[in-house]
Structures are given as C-alpha cells and as structure tokens.
C-alpha cells in the first residue's frame, strides 16, 4: 500500500472518531445541565479543557458560555478540531484515497460531511442540539460499520482501525482527566446525589453507563476510573483500545505480538504491557492525572513512530541530494 494512502486512511479514521467524541462531550454536558439544581453555574469550562485547546478558545471567545463552547466545538471553521473541521479533514483525506476505500465508505462520509456543513449555515440546526449530536454519533457509527463490513481486512483496514482506536483511547483519557480534575475538589459532595450525577455523566459520555451498571452496580469514582481504564471488555476503555490497536499494528507488519520489528511496535507494546499489569489502586495512589498525562504523551510518541516507520520513508540515495530530498518531504496531508 502506498505510504501516502496509508497515512490518509489512518487520518480519515482518526478524524471521524474525533468528531464523534466531540459530539459525545457536548451532548452529555447538555444533558447534565438539565439535572443540575437551579442556580448551579453551568459547567462548560471543563469541555474546553478536554480538548487541550484552551488558548485558542479564550483568545477568540472569552467567556465559556454554552453558546460559545458549542459553537467552538461544533461549527468553528477556524478551529481545526471542531466537528466541522474534523469532518472536512476526514473527507479530504478520503477524497484523496477514494480508489483505495470502497465507494460506500466514501459516499457515506461525503454525505456525513455535507449534512454537518449544511447544519453549520442553518440557524435552527442547534434548536434541538441532542438530535444534532445524536446524528453525528450515529453517522460515525455507520461509517465504522461500513468500514468493518465492506472493506477487505488488509493493510488499509488495519490502518483505519489503528487510527480509530488510538484516537478513542486518547479521548477517553481526556474526558476522564478533565472530569476527575473538576470533580475532585468538592469533597463534601462525595457520595451525594450530585456526585453520582457527575460520574454517571462521565460514563454516559462514552456510552458506558449501562455497561458499567451491569458490571459494578453502585457508582464510585474508583470503580468508574477502573472501568474506563482497565476493563478489557468495554470497547471504549483505554486498555481495550490499546489491545486492539496493537493487534492491528502487528497485522500491518506481520510480526508476532509480544515482539517488535520497529519503534512503533516497541512503544505500543510497552504501553500495552504496563496497562496489562496495572491495578487501579496503584494508579490512583500515584496520581490519576499524572498517569493520564503520561499516557497521552506516550500515545503521541506511538503516533510519531508510526509516521516515521511507515509514512516518512525516504530512498537512501536522497541523503546527499538536496533537490531530490525536497521532492519527497512534502506531506501536506490533512491532519
């Protein structure tokens, strides 16, 4: 498979997943507001923190009001990680490889993007925001479904899955980080209905509420964190994402799991082993925030290694030839 094509498929898939997660964050926050006792200040600030793009928001919007935050996360063309921008990037990537993915995938993504683009210019689009965010989530599910059911499960498919799962692992860790951070200081609320509400909203944002209930019943912060980080069976839990991403990475090169042939496999394999032998008590006692922070930066280094291994390859003859090297260095992919 062409390196450029692999890169575009990986990012196409990552961006669709990113758009879906943004819709989840916003949707769940909206829902939670409805349950808050009247007079409680609305909690939109944490959503901005979850993106890690606080600077960009405050520079242009100022107050984190409901409308500002939703506009920023949903329809802001200037912000490269808004739902609209993500879908635009996903579609541009897909367009550059439409001969490599099936026409059903392309057509669906094309329609998905056009529906959100049309909503962006429709003043009534966010009249019922739940419907809109539900549409984004469902369209993303459909895209994943089409990918799984129509695309040959070769290299391209594994690059798509790799992109999707690395993105999902990152987003689950971010929502957890932000919620834990904001929920932690209110010690007097521990065990109160308020606390319950907030933690169930964390679960709901990753569609994990019902699955969690089946497994653990009562909601405690420790169990929720354990569920979202270390539950192998829950498809949005960090360890589940990393496990399956690791499988795809090995499927691409053909190397056996548990070994490594390149830096990407080494880094992801190490990360996976640590999660495999981690316990929730250890994570919490050494600091959840520190744990998540280090997880995110190691995940980034996995992404970097994938790029170096599979995408940024140069012919050896180029080393002493500036002109030729120039021609090869151009990767203006949408990422």
């Amino acid at each position: 498979m062409l390196s450029r094509v692999a890169d575009a498929i990986y990012w196409m898939s990552r961006y669709v997943e990113r758009a879906e997660n943004l819709a989840r964050f916003a949707d769940v926050t909206l829902n939670m507001m409805l349950d808050l006792p009247s007079g409680t200040p609305e909690q939109w600030r944490p959503l901005i923190s979850a993106t890690g793009d606080d600077d960009k928001f405050f520079e242009r919007y100022g107050e984190p009001t409901r409308d500002n935050v939703i506009q920023f996360l949903t329809f802001d063309r200037e912000y490269s990680n808004s739902i609209l921008s993500c879908l635009h990037a996903a579609r541009e990537n897909a367009r550059s490889v439409r001969e490599a993915i099936g026409s059903e995938m392309w057509e669906h993504l094309n329609q998905f993007y056009m529906s959100v683009r049309n909503a962006a210019t429709d003043p009534d689009a966010l009249e019922s925001p739940n419907d809109f965010f539900q549409h984004v989530k469902m369209s993303s599910h459909l895209f994943t479904g089409i990918t799984i059911t129509t695309m040959s499960q070769g290299e391209g498919w594994h690059f798509a899955r790799l992109g999707r799962l690395l993105e999902r692992a990152d987003k689950t860790s971010r929502i957890l980080d932000v919620k834990y951070f904001t929920l932690l200081p209110s010690l007097q609320d521990v065990g109160s209905p308020m606390d319950d509400l907030q933690w169930s909203s964390v679960l709901r944002s990753v569609s994990g509420f019902e699955m969690y209930r089946k497994r653990h019943h009562g909601i405690t912060p420790k169990r929720v964190v354990g569920f979202l980080v270390l539950d192998r069976k829950f498809p949005r839990a960090i360890i589940h994402c990393i496990d399956h991403a690791n499988q795809s990475l090995h499927a691409i090169s053909g190397s056996p799991e548990g070994t490594f042939w390149n830096p990407a496999e080494k880094r992801l394999g190490l990360l996976r082993s640590e999660l495999a032998y981690a316990e929730i008590d250890e994570i919490l006692s050494s600091g959840l925030h520190e744990f998540l922070d280090s997880f995110q930066s190691r995940l980034n280094s996995v992404g970097e290694a994938i790029f170096q291994t599979y995408i940024a390859m140069r012919p050896e003859v180029d080393k002493n030839d500036d002109d030729a090297a120039m021609g090869v260095r151009l990767w203006p992919t949408h990422r």
Partner: protein
C-alpha cells in the same frame, strides 16, 4: 421532495415533444418534419408514455445520486476548491448504427495518421521535407518537445488514449473539431452517466439495443499492461494524478479504482537505481507503466519545467532507457496545436493515401497572409481560437462578441499571427434538453474515446456535452456545460449478442470487491 413533486405536476403536461421546436437547427433526435430520427423512435415514444411527473422525478434522483457519489469537478478560480456536479440531463443522445460506423471508421483513420505524424516529426520530419507542413509552423509550435526527438515508444505508438471532439452543423455533416491527444478527460462521466441511466430506465435499455461502454476500464488496463517494458506476468500499472485539487481528480481516482491499480502522485514516486518506484508501507515497489494525467511540462522537473512539484525527477531518463512506459507518450501535444490541426486532412492523404472520412471544420490559418486578411475582415462571422488553449479559454465567438472584444482579438492576431486560427461559426446541432420542466433545444458536441493498442478501439458512445445556457455554443464544463448519456444503437448483425454478454458482465466488473483482483489475476483480463 414535496416541492419538487408539486413542480413536477404543474409542468408534466409540457413534457412531451408535440410542442418541441427544433428552431431551424439540425436536431439530434427529431427531424425537420417533427418525426423521430432513426433509432430514436422507441426512446421518444416511451418517454411520452411515462406517468405525470415521472421524468422530472428521475432527473432529480439522478442529480442527487451524482452529488452523493461525489461525482464532481473542481472549478479553477472558485473559492476554496469547491466542487460542483457536472450537470446531467436525463434524455440521452442517440447515434444510429450506420452513422456510428462512419464515425468509428473516420476516427480510426485519423488516429492512425496522427500517430504516424507524431512519430515522423520526432524522427525524420519527412512531412516537412516534402513541404506538406510548412517548416515555420512546426518550428514555432510551442508544444513541440525537443526532449522527445528520437524517442522510440513501444511499437511506435505515441497516442494510446485519445478523446476527439466532434460537432455537427446544420446540414447534418459531422466534423472533427479538436483531437485532444494529451490527457483527454471525461470518460468517467460516460461510464457514470450510463450507470445512472441504466438504473433510471432499465426497460428502455432492453428495448433499445444500446451498445455497452462498461468494458472501457478493462480494455484500458490491458492496453496499459501491454506497454510494460519486460512483459512480466503481472506488470505494475499506476494512474498518475496531479492530485486532489486537479479539476479531473475524480476521473483519475475513478479509473484507478475501476482498473484496480494504484493512484499515485509525483510525491509517491522516486527513481531508484534507474527504475521508477512507489513508496509503500512495505518499502519501494517498482512501477512498470504510468497512465499519467499530467501534462508533459510537469512530469519531470529535470527535463521540462524545473518548478514542477507534480512530477518525478529523472522520469524521462528512465523512460528513454525503456524502464518505464508512459501513456500517452510525451510529445503528443504537438498535434493538439490548432494550427497543426488544420493540416490533418493533408496528413491523412500523405501518410495513408486516403481521403479523410471525417472532415475538419474549415480552418483559416492566420499565419498565412491571405487567410489572415480574410479573418480580420470577417471577425464578426468567425470563431477565433488560440493555438494552444483548451477548455473554451482564449477564444472569440465573433457573432456573439462586442466590438471591443473583436478589436482585442484583431490586435492579438496581428501581433502573433502564428498563434491563431479561425473557423466559420457552425450552427451546432441541438437536442431536446430538460430546462425548467420542459424540453428545449440546446447545442451539443460529442467526444468519443479511442484506445490505440494492438488494434484501434473506439468506445461506442462518448461524452455528449450540452451547452445549457440558451443559445450558447460553449459546451465546456468549466463554462456552464452539462452532459448526456450517448446511446449508440447496435446494428442489425450479431452485435446484439455482444451487447447481452457485456451487460451480463457488468455487475461483476463494477462490484467493489473485484478491484483487487483485476490487477493481480491475469485471467480476468482475457
């Protein structure tokens, strides 16, 4: 949807041909007595029998399908690379069997002569020595590529893929308007238009005996595979595109997909040990044949424009060494020069000793003093074209132009006579087209596609381009043109079994799962 149905019911009464006015033009479907032309009876009759509003509904469904499938083109100069659908009209153009036979023979003859011409001028230039083509015209042809002098393409074939533009005037005579020997585009629309028409009117197809076009991608693939340098069992073929922002990107991607080959950009390719290689996730992989959809000027910065970011440094060297095949060969653009076009009938006589079956549009060469005088005196009647422009740019349609525009062209011609030709303004044939819910006549041309491999193959059909603006003669998609499906009706002989066989193949050929197999299993290529 509801609105459109309302609109449909208001206008359905006009969707028949009783009040259709051919306006004194040659009409492709209806003769001067208001009767269907040969081959069009069934179509017109069945269309009129449709229930109220049905045709409009089908038209809308077709447009929605095109948008959903992303069958679009980019318009240069429009903001943020917005794509548009190429407007599509659901009423097809019909070409009767005997007329097609003439067109097919004429195109084969013309391509054969043009290929001999290109080979000649990059070698002995006998046609110039024999004074059939003036030396000065060849020497001043900006599309003549000195880098191609002495090249020996496989089996001396230069122009493998051609899309010739044909027009018809009031008398019904078909003329060749342009040859397009570089990177003719549009064949993807031929295939997609047909796909949509078959979905919209399956019963009409059965009744009409339409010749299939569906086998174009597999024919193109075998042609390309035949060009491979060492004739290995499974040569690697790739389509080379300038990238996603090119106006024909959709087509490049579609053809690669249909042939099951890689779509590459210049940045995907490098020269290693003298061979062309793609950068893949498992290392460098050799490419044997490039169907390049990039103009000569941009394919290799080492030999052509050195500011090109689209090409591959060293590609021409590899080509000369016979380590990669290119389709079309570099240098074919010289025959697209509109001044050289004026000599094609003479070429046919010179190389084949035959009379041209399809005539050129009569052409005044401004380089010639007498012609120039005539052109300058008759600018209000003529169409003036620059020698190396395409896509409807750089031209003057005298009768529709202002005095100021005519004066501008008079100056241009006097400053650089070599760069201009002029032709009489043909009153192009028209065809009924759905405009605001009724049929109105609109001008059309026809671009058939020709493949030159072992033999010359003319795809039975082609892209019918229609000037949607009332009275307009410009059919280019960049200038408000649309397209129609073109139905070549099978002759009375054994053709119909061929039709049935090819149509039966179709579902297999277009199924997405087939893609990977087309490139790897030689049996599927026949």
């Amino acid at each position: 949807m509801q609105q459109s149905q309302q609109a449909a019911s208001q206008q359905q009464s006009q969707l028949n041909f009783r009040n259709y006015d051919t306006g004194g033009f040659f009409d492709e479907l209806i003769d001067e007595h208001g009767k269907p032309r040969p081959g069009a009876q069934i179509l017109l009759q069945r269309i009129e029998e449709l229930p109220d509003g049905e045709l409009l509904l089908r038209q809308e469904m077709a447009e929605r399908a095109l948008l959903r499938m992303g069958i679009t083109f980019a318009v240069y100069g429009s903001s943020d690379g917005v794509e548009k659908i190429f407007p599509f009209d659901i009423l097809p153009r019909i070409v009767a069997a005997n007329e097609w036979a003439t067109i097919e023979a004429g195109l084969k003859q013309r391509i054969r002569a043009l290929n001999l011409f290109i080979d000649d001028i990059y070698h002995d230039q006998q046609i110039v020595k024999d004074e059939v083509l003036p030396r000065a015209i060849l020497d001043s042809a900006t599309s003549f590529r000195k880098q191609c002098i002495g090249l020996k393409p496989p089996r001396d074939i230069w122009c493998h893929i051609t899309g010739t533009d044909l027009v018809r005037d009031n008398s019904g005579q078909v003329f060749v308007l342009e040859d397009n020997l570089r990177c003719p585009s549009g064949v993807s629309y031929v295939l997609q238009n047909r796909f949509i028409m078959k979905r919209s009117f399956p019963w009409l197809f059965e009744a009409s005996h339409v010749m299939p076009v569906v086998d174009y991608p597999s024919r193109l693939l075998s042609l390309l595979q035949h060009l491979a340098p060492d004739g290995g069992p499974t040569p690697t073929v790739a389509v080379m595109t300038p990238g996603v922002y090119n106006s024909a990107y959709y087509e490049h991607s579609f053809l690669a997909q249909q042939m099951g080959v890689e779509l590459v950009e210049g940045r995907d390719l490098v020269i290693r040990d003298g061979y062309v290689c793609m950068r893949t996730t498992s290392g460098f992989q050799r490419v044997d044949v490039l169907y390049r959809r990039i103009d000569d000027d941009f394919i290799d910065p080492q030999e052509f424009r050195d500011d090109s970011m689209l090409g591959v440094r060293g590609l021409m060297e590899a080509y000369r060494a016979g380590r990669v095949a290119l389709a079309n060969a570099p240098g074919t653009g010289v025959a697209d020069d509109k001044v050289i076009y004026a000599y094609v009938e003479k070429m046919i006589k010179y190389y084949l000793n035959e009379k041209a079956i399809l005539p050129n549009v009569p052409t005044y060469v401004c380089y010639d003093e007498e012609d120039r005088k005539y052109v300058l005196a008759h600018l209000d009647e003529l169409v003036v074209k620059a020698a190396n422009e395409s896509g409807g740019y750089g031209m003057l349609i005298g009768p529709h132009a202002t005095d100021e525009e005519r004066k501008k062209f008079a100056d241009l011609i006097q400053k650089d006579p070599r760069n201009y030709i002029a032709q009489p303004t043909l009153s192009l044939s028209r065809i009924p087209t759905m405009i605001d819910g009724t049929f109105e006549g609109r001008h059309v041309d026809l671009r058939p596609y020709i493949l030159y491999g072992d033999d010359i193959f003319v795809l039975p059909g082609g892209l019918t381009r229609v000037a949607l603006r009332k009275g307009s003669l410009v059919v280019n998609s960049s200038q408000g043109g649309g397209s129609k499906d073109t139905w070549v009706i099978a002759g009375p002989s054994g053709d119909q079994t061929a039709v049935a066989a090819a149509e039966a193949d179709e579902s297999a050929a277009t199924a997405p799962d087939d893609r990977s197999q087309v490139s790897t299993s030689p049996e599927s290529l026949k």
